[in-house]
Symmetry: D2
Subunit: 282 residues, 4 copies
Amino acid sequence: MHLGIIANPHKNGSAATVLSLIDTLEKKGISTSLEDDTAKLIDGATGIPAPELAQQCDVVAVLGGDGTMLDAAHRIGPTDTPVAGINIGNLGFLTSCTDDELDIFADALLDLSYKVVPRILLKTTITHQDGSIEEDFAVNEITLSRGQTGRLISIDAFIDGALLNHYHADGLIVATPTGSTAYSLAAGGPLISPIASAFVVTPICPHSLTNRSLVLDDSSVVELTTAEESECPALYSIDGREVRELPRTSRIKVEKAGHKLHLIRLRDRSYFATLRQKLRWG
Amino acid sequence: MHLGIIANPHKNGSAATVLSLIDTLEKKGISTSLEDDTAKLIDGATGIPAPELAQQCDVVAVLGGDGTMLDAAHRIGPTDTPVAGINIGNLGFLTSCTDDELDIFADALLDLSYKVVPRILLKTTITHQDGSIEEDFAVNEITLSRGQTGRLISIDAFIDGALLNHYHADGLIVATPTGSTAYSLAAGGPLISPIASAFVVTPICPHSLTNRSLVLDDSSVVELTTAEESECPALYSIDGREVRELPRTSRIKVEKAGHKLHLIRLRDRSYFATLRQKLRWG
Amino acid sequence: MHLGIIANPHKNGSAATVLSLIDTLEKKGISTSLEDDTAKLIDGATGIPAPELAQQCDVVAVLGGDGTMLDAAHRIGPTDTPVAGINIGNLGFLTSCTDDELDIFADALLDLSYKVVPRILLKTTITHQDGSIEEDFAVNEITLSRGQTGRLISIDAFIDGALLNHYHADGLIVATPTGSTAYSLAAGGPLISPIASAFVVTPICPHSLTNRSLVLDDSSVVELTTAEESECPALYSIDGREVRELPRTSRIKVEKAGHKLHLIRLRDRSYFATLRQKLRWG
Amino acid sequence: MHLGIIANPHKNGSAATVLSLIDTLEKKGISTSLEDDTAKLIDGATGIPAPELAQQCDVVAVLGGDGTMLDAAHRIGPTDTPVAGINIGNLGFLTSCTDDELDIFADALLDLSYKVVPRILLKTTITHQDGSIEEDFAVNEITLSRGQTGRLISIDAFIDGALLNHYHADGLIVATPTGSTAYSLAAGGPLISPIASAFVVTPICPHSLTNRSLVLDDSSVVELTTAEESECPALYSIDGREVRELPRTSRIKVEKAGHKLHLIRLRDRSYFATLRQKLRWG
């Protein structure tokens, strides 16, 4: 068992948790490698770029919360290597355990008593007027939204080639089951079980009150364009990262990605228990 | 091509539409049979019980709105025979055309230019304390709700054996994609594409504001019981039909049914167009 | 200072809290009287009916949660005497303190360091076809709802004589600011500051998705009738108490009551702090 | 009777409607004056600045939709002169009639058979760190929102000096009853009767699902600041007009304005009828 480690370099205490994790693992005979930026946190350590790290290791551990997990997933890129989030302090939707549980985590790795839960991802393809193409993938969601103009945007949405709707709204979210507990939820969307073969289109503050979230089969292809009458251009962002302007003549296609994110779940940890705790249903 | 006909016996004008449909079809060489209760609307006609009608015919036409379709689906029972709803006046979510379009409908039957769209159904299994079992199926939804007591009910919900939540609410709905435009929508649930392999658990006026709708993969098994602390017993109903009290010691299991409802969709009719029209998105 | 005491006779520990309260108060020179049913909890004690108790005392203390407060408000009836809820265990929206704070409460009474916060109430007048009239008042809300039929009810609502809407819904709530944190909130209604001169009409699971809550000036008069096309008669209840059927020819008028509920608030207790805690905004 | 006229200079057909209105009015003996920018639409006409126009006229007519009304209200500034919106084509929430009804409108002016409905406005006072102050007023709402960063903003809200909440959200709206049918509604807020002495604080896509709209008495003073931990600065805008960045050390106070907007309502026009039509409750 060889473990790769990626830590949030901006979180206080990351270095200490990395050292503590390495120590816990080595005592149990699990070797480790560090990702590039993570290595910089540790005196004298050398690191490997994230994609190579995932290739060389049996499991990648990510130290930090859900935001760090999102970031790591993008830095690693497509991989079949399972990823385990170790949250510092709290419990997250994406993380496997907290930093209080390093021993439990190490034991689970050793006796292979964990479960690997694949999460579907979205592939986004932006086709520009000149025919050029940009591809990316989303763990949580892709968001189209208005900028600072104070105006609504108008978005034409198509499902498998058929018009779904002309939306007049602050924006539109296409979210995975994983993303259903993030921005889509705040915008009024439903929760989606992580094993559902579905994703969801959720309008943000739609002008028409009947524009509810629409859950789609994950075989569906969603295409989005800025409508001609839109009062302002749309911005788009993936997983709440970099926000960019979508030229009015460009078209975004959103569909299920070819690869998945393989999350490690420790035995006896239930997704619904996390849901109850995070949403304070208790 | 042999067509079975079921009409809403309580709707004014049903008899006239039945006669008009028979006339239109026979002119084009399509023979027809009538269901029992429908035959009573027509002087001198004889009918066949709904299940036999479906067995003997290539297609069953149902004259009436979405409510009549629900009713017909239950009277027919499990069948692979496609069903076409002919709405009198309006457009419905389940119906294929309106009674203004009998010619178009007949032509589509003749040249087989229609599409058969299977809709998933829910199977409900109630296990009582004495071990006795009641089975049924739902086209739209199964609803647990409080009665006239003015008190909340408490429901324990389990997904695949794991606790989902203790709900304190006016009730709880488990709905199919087909049912997502019915009661679940009024209770705040999302729209679900009819081809999605999913169903949805929607609480009704939950005491906890974070108890959102939860979309599940249609391989999931939901089990519901009245919680011990419930202030009143739960009532249950299927597709808004007969309302019955669920004994506190009984358990309801809800899962995907083994059969589907096969709806006829005329060429060039889009589900999303119906959605836009019915929800006035236009 | 003479204090009347009403306790929830169905709550375990009520008797002990009553004795503890009497003890705490008498040590500080505050005399007490017990309400009828409360006196039955205490060996050898005699009580006074609730309305007389309120008349004879400077303050009425109610031991129990928000439900007990609602009940006590109805048993006392119209009065200017301030009421202080002493919650057993938790914090309530209506209660002034918890049973851990009896000393603080007694001191506040003695040095008059409390605030009296008047809460508006609703007066309901039901006019039956034969001209007979029933009057009552609501602390939280009056609810019209469907019974066990599984059918929607249709309600015609008028504001100051002008048609507001024909509602097709599970029901309709007219709530005070006090009631805005109760059933109306679960049905999707807004929070209303307790000092706002307003009440709110909130539909329950309306058929039309655009039927939002409507906040009215408290000078408004709301009239509700079952619409002719209603599939079933409406039930009504006040503050979630007794549920009764409203004859189809009867009419309910809802307006601000002539009297208020005078709640005691201890110094430095903020309504918004309670809101944050109860709704877990923290 | 002397009427001032303000038209939307960007709307096709404004000039024709202005001429038609002048013609209709003069035939009935009502004289007119034009606002500056409106005069530019008409060959050879001269105009008066909006504030002077309101001062010199008995009534100001605004040709255009709700957006034009908002704009005109800001250009006129505080005034007691009643304003009548004449919508081109549709019906608006703020407008008095459509351009098909110029005769009805003129007759109503002549025989004084209209009603003047005052609408409360919000006064906003921004206090910057250097002590400088900016004042403005809002007809619909003041909005604080995040910019293009993709990050949540954190806003501390105080009511009459007491902490209401630390919001983590896309933004926060403080809306008048008039604004309750605009952006606040899209963000999930309630409808508020135009005569209610209330305004409403509505969070936009709040991180916490229990952060509902809060209706306040219009005597309340709301103060908003960007919280220290906010991931990005807040933008603010008034009535969806110019969007500006709020320095992190600045503080916005929102309270009822000293003046109102006096809208003309024609006899027999009901606010609730407009509501039903605009929200398609019919």
